[in-house]
Point group: C2
Chain length 140, copies 2
Amino acid sequence: MTEPDISALAHDLRIACMRVARRVRFDADNTIAPHLFSVLARLSEEPRTVGELAAIEQVSAPSVSRTVGQACEAGYAVRSPDAHDGRLVRLSLTPEGQEIVRRERAHRDAWMTGRLEEITAHQRQVLREATDLLDRVVGP
Amino acid sequence: MTEPDISALAHDLRIACMRVARRVRFDADNTIAPHLFSVLARLSEEPRTVGELAAIEQVSAPSVSRTVGQACEAGYAVRSPDAHDGRLVRLSLTPEGQEIVRRERAHRDAWMTGRLEEITAHQRQVLREATDLLDRVVGP
DNA sequence: TATTGTTATACTCTATAACTATA
DNA sequence: TATAGTTATAGAGTATAACAATA
């Protein structure tokens, strides 16, 4: 593959990925707002503080604080004080919050699954390899 | 590939694509707002009306009208009346607008190109095939 | 004095409804 | 009367600055 081809691939691959991301967010009429889902998804991994969420999501602390307030008000998350540092607020998902995250993920996956059922097994194998490559190339 | 594997691929591929989209938007510290770039990118393909842009971008006509106003004010686009229908407003890019789009695309592509240079030619070939597949699967 | 989180305030993007001009 | 676009108004998310509590 020559230099120009690498650039062309970079362009086409970027466009394709952004299109998928866009479709998933728009077409799969999601029931939960993107910013709220992002926070809940992070908390589903493990309990975190407001500051940690702000750093991970790359938004301001006040913005996260507000979103967390919505999550708690909706019964998806709970605040609890840190045992050793009174300034910290530990955030964790309730069972309802975990269920919301699970359902939302299933919803998004279902949309993608439907598309993949339209192609051949061999083509899916190509996408499988490409997915693993992307994970390594783009990083965690 | 069995059923569960298709679901797993759907999940992993979706995550990988959304991660790429996210990295491009964050890492490649872009100089132009996403909604404005989207409109300019559409106009770089061909002149369009407000209604066409609204339909393509899936946002309301007033929202597009506002964004177009910004584009015109910044000197990136110009409004011109339609010859046959006085209600229509034809929008097209100025040379400055074309340059902005070109530069922004180059910026985003450069990030992706850097990643692709780290892998082998064979691996890039896999991504090339996967990209073409994604285009067909996800649609235009 | 520095850090964590929240509250106050303003700005931006988007949407619906109302309005103007043209078909 | 229907359509294309703009203007008016309101709602939601985010940011910076100011504040309260704790280290």
